[in-house]
Symmetry: C2
């Protein structure tokens, strides 16, 4: 029994709340200078939701969307694995709350639980699911990976770096997006840059400066290791220009992605595979000092600017408009790439950098090995972000977060109607009883896909013979 | 590149606190009838610890024990994955706190995070690590799986079902304990039998009767599915007597293991592969009613009693003496089997049942395919349980749990000396600063293994060429 081939992402979709606040209106509301969030952070809009949605309901919305849009059969799924740090219960995993439709279809034999390490959990879940398909444990069924969070901060400078969303990926063989598993390069260490030790609060503890330094150090470590592994495996040097054609980064805010890409160029210069006079001046800066060296940062961002605009920036699209969905962030980058038909070049290598505070980081890659048209049309990301959401004022956004505070960990309440503006077919938290047991309901779905399209997509789905 | 063969458990060890309370003394302290815990639950001793140990320190103690006793090189480890529901931080994983020694050795390229679903997280972590070794992602290094918890309950009837411990398993190819991955049979559903919605408390919410019914229903579902898969794969019927030679169950308390084994017999009778007149009388009981049918339970326990004593009960040993270590419990069963040299029969199939409330369950099996003598001697389980622990009074046990309550989620404190009676080489929580950042220290280690033994064990450890 040989391993299945071309294991990767067979189908994809996502869910994000239908309400957002614009960063420009937040700037005014917060009384900061114009452009502090839009230009300073590089962010445009931020998804948010009140107490009527939690991570379970958002994962329900995401998996239901994926199953229905692709007309998937509930018996064709053998694994559902989740990466999140939006923890509602220290013991019961979100995955268990998704079992209803599967059990109704007679399928409770579905592996997978929750993976936790800050924004890295989705990558852990994805790696596990890929490895499962390649192992003798695989039984020919698809795996679903859900990655996402509700990112909220207490009032203050970090609040505009929130967001909310869940990405749903269908993993199996013969995929148009194929992972290069031999090249996974990771860096883990013990850090307190962003963490959640206050269990009774939804808000994290953050050391922003430390977190940026940890992120950039992880880019260094992972990129150097990735290049080493590439060179051992392929027998030739890796450099950022010729080695990969697209770059996706975990995106707390877009400006950090730009710094990180500049950092990759800094690495290539210090590794001696790329020449750049401006950056070369900084090659003897001590690593730890280099993370906060503004002149170095400016030189790297400047030198990499054109390349950034063409092979990185376009894929920051979804997260610029959703905000930081933590575990989902990197994969909203992937959906942004799928959404961009000009990015669909067969054979292109997409380099991905996943970072979770605490810390856990991996750099890895996939190859575009088939048409992404179907995934682009099904997810319909740009249209949904631009035209299927409602802008809410900064005042009402602030009220919504106050509502979340009030109901976080609360018991004995019911939500009598779906949250306003909720997307058709999405699920919401309908109540928490006196014992803390949660229940969910669904907004009536509207069939947005023609039956013919659904049938066409169904040809994607088959049991693999193994 | 073909898959590595005989992937399984290459080495094993564990950590449990050096202090325990006897169930007999708890009976007196609680003013219940003699035997209520010892006979009623089937439990003898319960490990516990005060505020000086947390899940991070216990995992540090476990992984350090495994690394040192087997003289493992820190660069030979490519994955460290953890299953626990003892959550100290909703974002930062326990695994990150274990990186110190590995980074000192120049190895930060180590995959794996925390898996969460009640007592099932360890099984998820183990499955992921096995699959990783069999996938193209594997790079020839070992994986370490840590599974365990600190199980504490508020004052009341559930308190004697606590416990504490962490199992450490080294996973790789050419192992003496080899998993049969094709036979994994799982059952997941949405239940609130045991859960932890009170984030600010270390204690769970428990519906004991529901949890027992969920557990037994999961035994049914998983066993039937396991038998189906076996029959499809092997082309012959599976029955409990001829199909497997040893049985390990997740063990909240030993009596539930006995009921569960009886339930397996009930399944064989209703499936028509085993004849038993007494049990047959109950074959038409409705499934849901059957979980609480005392006469049925009595008939099954009675009919399976001899078999239980010989192929199940011996492996409840560690958990009878440690208590419920949640994610560790099933694997303390495996260590009990390894500790019993009479159980070491080449070719024997060991059937394992993992259950985590919420709920997640899997039945799976391994084959004894090599000598376990080395693992038995290194772990030295019986000796450690019998002679390297200190009995503490029920009063002081109650004080220790009060201390845990006081310091759970607390900040700005230091532990100035190791907890009393702590094992040499174990780690403890030395403080939590004002920002909730934790620090750990180690009790000086005593080399208990002769250098010669260490050298001999080192032959276990090599890089696999792939």
């Amino acid at each position: 029994m040989s391993r299945p081939k071309r294991v990767g992402i067979v189908a994809s979709d996502c869910y994000f709340p239908s309400t957002y606040v614009s960063q420009a209106s937040l700037e005014k509301h917060d009384g900061v200078s114009a452009g502090k969030y839009e230009v300073g952070l590089g962010q445009n809009k931020m998804s948010f939701t009140g107490a009527g949605e939690d991570i379970n309901s958002m994962c329900l919305s995401a998996i239901t969307g994926l199953m229905e849009k692709y007309n998937l059969n509930h018996t064709d799924i053998g694994r559902i694995e989740i990466g999140t740090e939006t923890i509602l219960d220290k013991s019961k995993s979100t995955k268990t709350t998704l079992m209803g439709d599967f059990i109704a279809a007679g399928n409770s034999d579905i592996l997978g639980v929750t993976n936790i390490n800050a924004c890295y959990g989705g990558t852990a879940a994805l790696f596990n699911t890929i490895d499962w398909v390649e192992s003798t444990s695989w039984d020919g069924r698809y795996g679903i990976v859900l990655m996402g969070d509700i990112a909220v901060y207490e009032k203050g400078p970090a609040r505009p770096t929130g967001g909310a969303g869940v990405v749903a990926l269908l993993v199996g063989p013969e995929a148009p997006l194929v992972f290069e598993n031999k090249l996974r390069a990771s860096h883990f260490e013990d850090a307190y840059d962003f963490y959640k030790p206050n269990l009774a609060s939804e808000y994290p503890a953050v050391d922003g400066h430390l977190s940026n330094a940890c992120y950039l150090r992880s880019v260094d470590k992972c990129y150097q290791l990735y290049a080493d592994k590439f060179e051992r495996l392929e027998g030739k040097k890796f450099d950022m220009v010729n080695g990969a054609q697209r770059y996706l980064f975990h995106q707390p805010y877009a400006k950090l992605v730009q710094k990180s890409f500049g950092r990759v160029m800094y690495n290539d210069v210090t590794r001696g595979v790329l020449e750049n006079e401006e950056i070369s001046k900084f090659r003897n800066v001590e690593p730890e000092a280099s993370y906060t060296d503004r002149a170095l940062d400016k030189a790297c961002v400047g030198a990499s600017s054109d390349l950034y605009k063409s092979i990185v920036y376009p894929y920051t699209m979804a997260s610029r408009n959703i905000g930081n969905s933590y575990a989902g962030s990197l994969y909203f980058g992937l959906l942004s790439l799928i959404a961009d038909e000009t990015a669909e070049k067969l054979g292109d290598r997409v380099l991905m950098f996943s970072y979770g505070s605490g810390l856990a980081a991996s750099m890895f890659s996939l190859i575009i090995d088939g048409s992404l048209k179907n995934q682009r049309e099904v997810c319909n990301l740009k249209e949904r972000l631009d035209n299927e959401r409602v802008e809410i004022s900064a005042e009402k956004f602030t009220q919504a977060l106050a509502e979340r505070e009030e109901f976080y960990n609360a018991k004995s309440f019911a939500v009598n109607s779906p949250p306003k503006f909720m997307s058709p077919g999405a699920s919401y938290l309908s109540g928490v009883d006196a014992l803390g047991r949660r229940s969910y309901q669904r907004v009536p779905a509207v069939r947005t896909l023609a039956a013919a399209t659904a049938r066409q997509m169904h040809t994607l789905v088959r049991r693999f013979k193994i």
